[in-house]
């Protein structure tokens, strides 16, 4: 399963639309390599990358934390 | 009915050598023949519940085949008087049969006195015994030739009625 495949499965989750993270048509066009501008989606991408590339859970945690702490988009 | 009464008072005898044959097929209870329960006697492989039954059977067998055989032996056994034989009409039929075969002239008989009548009745009894003896002899012969006839066949005595 490619990162793209896995990514697609995650963003299919109804929560994203329910909680207003993204709209339907934007969701449709979204690709893994795109910068979504949505924190949640970026976090998901990070997690996917770390597992597929075998970076381990610790690395994933650090990355995510750093990202969310910085307040960056 | 004097004649019949006198006849029926008699108890015929059979050759004691046939005792085994008789007991093989007859229920013999201590002294009281004819009181066996039908079911159990069947299960014991017996065909006749009393001695007089097999005796009647043998006599009729002798009559049917016209075969009488004098009893050679002096060892004879008695059983019950004819007047106790059941069913009575069968017993009378047997009597009739023997009378038919006997040399007794009916008309002459009526002219005889009691003593002579008794003599004739004695002869009658002897004749019956001879026919019965013939019948038993036939049975014995059949057992010797084909013992399986009696072993494997529940209807053996009835089938034997067909044989002349």
């Amino acid at each position: 399963m490619t990162k793209e495949n896995i990514f697609k499965n995650f963003i299919d989750d109804p929560l994203l639309i329910e909680k207003g993270y993204i709209t339907n048509d934007k969701l449709y066009k979204l690709k893994f390599i795109d910068q979504s501008g949505i924190k949640l989606i970026e976090v998901v991408k990070m997690a996917i990358e770390c597992t597929v590339d075998d970076y381990g859970e610790a690395t994933a945690s650090r990355k995510i934390n750093k990202f969310l702490n910085s307040g960056q988009l | 009915m004097e004649l019949l009464k006198k006849i029926k008072d008699r108890a015929p005898e059979y050759d004691s050598s046939f005792e085994e044959l008789i007991t093989k097929f007859t229920v013999v209870q201590g002294g009281r023949a004819g009181t066996a329960v039908e079911g159990t006697s069947w299960e014991q492989g017996k065909y006749f519940t009393t001695k007089y039954e097999i005796y009647m059977y043998a006599t009729l067998l002798g009559l049917r085949c016209n075969y009488r055989l004098p009893i050679k032996s002096n060892d004879k056994s008695k059983f019950i008087e004819i007047k106790s034989w059941q069913p009575a009409d069968l017993a009378e039929y047997v009597i009739m049969g023997i009378l038919a075969k006997s040399e007794i002239d009916f008309n002459e008989l009526e002219n005889k006195d009691d003593k002579e009548v008794e003599k004739d009745i004695l002869n009658f009894k002897k004749l019956m015994e001879e026919y019965a003896n013939g019948g038993f002899d036939k049975l014995r012969a059949k057992i010797e030739i084909s013992p399986s006839f009696f072993e494997n066949n529940d209807n053996c005595f009835i089938d034997l009625l067909d044989e002349v």
Partner: protein, 728 residues
């Protein structure tokens, strides 16, 4: 990869050199129980994994443990001093690239004075031909050897491709998380999603903890905060406990539901068995009463010799003789009587002649005297002179002689009178002789009656036997004992009760969980109320994002898993339908129903989705086989497994004939190559013919294996070898 050939030498029951070639399609090895089919499977497995299946332990064991048992007893017995070696080599061929791999494993031991000196390990060699017509070269590099083995039969799917019939039950148990997940993983890696889930969980946990710390830090009342924190901890602990409870209850509920479902299908079998048993009982009762009747008839049959006078059969002549004698007796008597009568008649005739017209004493004597005196007839009033005819006639009236009033009886007086005896005997004999003509008919009737009862008894016996056979068949089909059949209803209601109880318990636990969550929420709010100032926005957002991340991770994982289950379900259905298409009875569809504990349960349902009752063991085995096939075939686009071969001694004996052919058809369609060991075709010649001639089955090679010693005589294995015969 196709398996081209296997060479087996001195391995287990295969003494000496043995060889089998295989082609594409379904290759079948036929042999009865104990003929060497599973040892053949062991040969394949041994080469690849250095293990054989030990039936006593019901597990695979390494060569190290099994040791010289691997070597044929016959060969070991033949050597006093020397060396014996068991070897198996399999030739694989990649049809696309046309390269060939020969994998060989050997195990040898020394024998001294007929004693075996054990060795330790087996040797494993791999030879490769770049192209099939080139020479083979030994592969030296251990890593490359491993890669080749992995390529030919990857470790994670080997269980679904090379398996023994006995393993089918356990290879895929839908109600066991591990086998289910393992199977799903083969279809598509669910591992990634599990890992992301773990990341999300721990991230959320950490993020929440960070947030809480901030809240605490900003609290205006540290004491109260402390208190609330403690409460929170307590609720947290309780919540954790309830969550564990919930998991356990869900497990129990799933198990009960699973058992109940299993019993439901057995229930209809059990009901069938119960009905049949009742039929058998009523048959036996009927038989009993028939036997009683027969006995009664037979007893009374014999009594009829006397009661119905059968003993008189053929004695008609006797009565005839007596009749003749009696008749002559009677006629003599009558003669005598008629003589007398004639005499009497004569006298009465004379008297008649003498008698005048007038009756006696008419007229009375005094008048007669008067008439004589007056010489006149007073009757007709005519003259009657003395001595005239008329006067003489009148005189005769007085003079007529005395006639005796009764004629003498016409009996000759005898000394005895036995006529009533003889008459009685005659009449008795007459009545009985009339019966004689009916005797034959009577006997025949009674014999017929007895014959009828006997044939009814035979018929009832037959019926009972048929019902018995049906019961046996049902029992073996559903592998239940007769006793089980009756306890199934009881068991079923027990499981149903469990389901009810656990469902209730689950509800309660869920409520508790909700309560505790609410409490925790309340405390959070209270804690929040205590803060002065504001929590940094980024932290708030971080907490939100991470919690949502966790939610998405969990939900996505479940969704992906469900989809894979659907995929598996669909593919399994395809195979199941194909395998059962030849069968007359309804086979239904397969549904994988989700259980409370997250596992799944296979159900056979009808077209409306309600469970199909009476699915017996053979159906369920078929479902599992279909699922095992589906796991591999779902991965390829066309549903055909081209690269790997199926090797199995499938439990076709559970199927019965119809399914066996269906199974073979499907296997030959789904797998490019398969090797099936079966005993089904051993005894059943018709089935064998169908296997080899059915146009829908792509048949490869068919072999028959026969041991040199039948199994029953196999106390001494020293002469055991196996012969292999190619049938096509």
């Amino acid at each position: 990869m196709i398996i081209e050939k296997i060479d087996i030498e001195n391995f287990m029951c295969y003494a000496g050199p043995n060889s089998m070639e295989f082609t594409e399609g379904i290759n079948v090895i036929i042999g009865d129980n104990g003929y060497g089919k599973s040892k053949l499977y062991d040969a394949f497995y041994w080469v690849m994994y250095d293990q054989v299946f030990v039936p006593e332990k019901k597990e695979f064991q390494n060569t190290k443990l099994v040791k010289s048992k691997i070597i044929s007893d016959k060969v070991k017995a033949e050597i006093i001093d020397g060396r014996v070696t068991a070897s198996v080599s399999i030739t694989f061929r990649n049809l696309e690239k046309d390269n060939v791999f020969i994998l060989e494993r050997k195990y040898s031991v020394a024998i001294k004075d007929s004693l075996v000196i054990e060795s330790n390990d087996s040797e494993f060699t791999v030879m490769k031909k770049e192209l099939s017509y080139l020479n083979a070269k030994m592969v030296i590099d251990e890593e490359e050897k491993k890669k080749i083995v992995q390529k030919i039969l990857p470790y994670d799917i080997k269980d679904y491709l090379w398996f023994q019939g006995e393993q089918v039950e356990s290879i895929i148990d839908f109600n066991k998380q591990d086998t289910l997940t393992k199977a799903i993983n083969v279809l598509s890696s669910i591992k990634r999603y599990d890992e992301v889930k773990e990341i999300a969980k721990s991230a959320a946990k950490a993020g929440n903890a960070e947030y809480d710390r901030e809240v605490k830090r900003l609290s205006k009342d540290l004491g109260k905060s402390e208190q609330l924190e403690n409460q929170k901890k307590q609720f947290g602990v309780r919540l954790a406990e309830f969550l564990i409870d919930e998991k356990e209850v869900k497990e129990n509920l799933s198990r009960a539901e699973g058992k109940s479902e299993e019993l439901l299908s057995k229930l209809s079998d059990a009901n069938k068995i119960t009905t049949l048993k009742q039929r058998k009982k009523s048959g036996l009762d009927q038989l009993k009463s028939l036997n009683v009747t027969l006995n009664d008839e037979q007893i009374s049959f014999h009594r009829k010799m006397f009661r119905n006078k059968w003993v008189l059969k053929g004695t008609g002549l006797v009565h005839k003789e007596f009749s003749e004698k009696y008749a002559s007796y009677e006629s003599y008597k009558l003669e005598k009587a008629s003589d007398l009568k004639a005499k009497n008649n004569l006298e009465s005739e004379i008297q008649k002649k003498l008698q005048i017209r007038l009756p006696i004493d008419v007229p009375e004597p005094i008048y007669v005297l008067k008439m004589l005196e007056e010489e006149k007839c007073l009757v007709c009033d005519r003259e009657a002179k003395k001595d005239s005819d008329a006067w003489n006639k009148i005189k005769e009236l007085i003079d007529r002689p005395i006639i005796p009033s009764n004629l003498k009886s016409s009996e000759i007086p005898t000394l005895q009178n036995f006529s009533s005896d003889f008459k009685r005997l005659y009449q008795n004999g007459l009545a009985l002789s009339h019966r004689i003509s009916e005797i034959d008919y009577d006997i025949a009737e009674t014999l017929k009656k007895i014959g009828d009862i006997n044939s009814k008894i035979r018929q009832t016996n037959n019926e009972i036997k048929i019902v018995d056979d049906d019961i046996q068949k049902l029992v073996s089909d559903s592998s239940q004992t007769l006793e089980n059949a009756e306890s199934i209803v009881a068991e079923f209601s027990i499981q149903n009760k469990h389901v009810k109880d656990f469902t209730e318990k689950l509800n309660r636990v869920t409520q508790q969980i909700e309560l505790n969550k609410k409490n925790l929420n309340t405390i959070d709010i209270q804690l929040k109320d205590l803060i002065t100032g504001e929590i940094p926005k980024w932290l708030v957002e971080k907490k939100q994002v991470l919690n949502d991340f966790e939610e998405i991770a969990v939900s996505t994982r479940d969704r992906v898993f469900s989809n894979l289950i659907s995929q598996l379900e669909k593919e399994t259905n395809n195979h199941y339908t194909a395998m059962t298409s030849g069968n007359k009875s309804t086979r239904g569809q397969i549904k994988l129903r989700k259980l409370p504990n997250g596992n799944y349960m296979p159900e056979i349902t009808d077209s409306t989705g309600s469970p199909l009752l009476g699915s017996n063991t053979s159906n369920l085995i078929l479902v599992k086989l279909a699922a095992i096939m589906a796991i591999i075939s779902a991965k390829s686009n066309d549903g055909i497994v081209s690269f790997y071969s199926l090797i199995t001694d499938a439990p076709t004996s559970v199927f019965g004939e119809d399914y066996t052919i269906g199974f073979c058809k499907t296997v030959s369609k789904v797998y490019r190559q398969s090797i099936i060991m079966s005993k089904e075709f051993y005894k059943n010649q018709t089935l064998r013919n169908e296997l080899m001639t059915n146009s829908e089955i792509k048949i490869g090679k068919v072999y028959m294996i026969t041991p040199s010693i039948p199994e029953t005589e196999r106390t001494d294995r020293k002469r055991l070898s196996t012969s292999i015969e190619l049938l096509n």
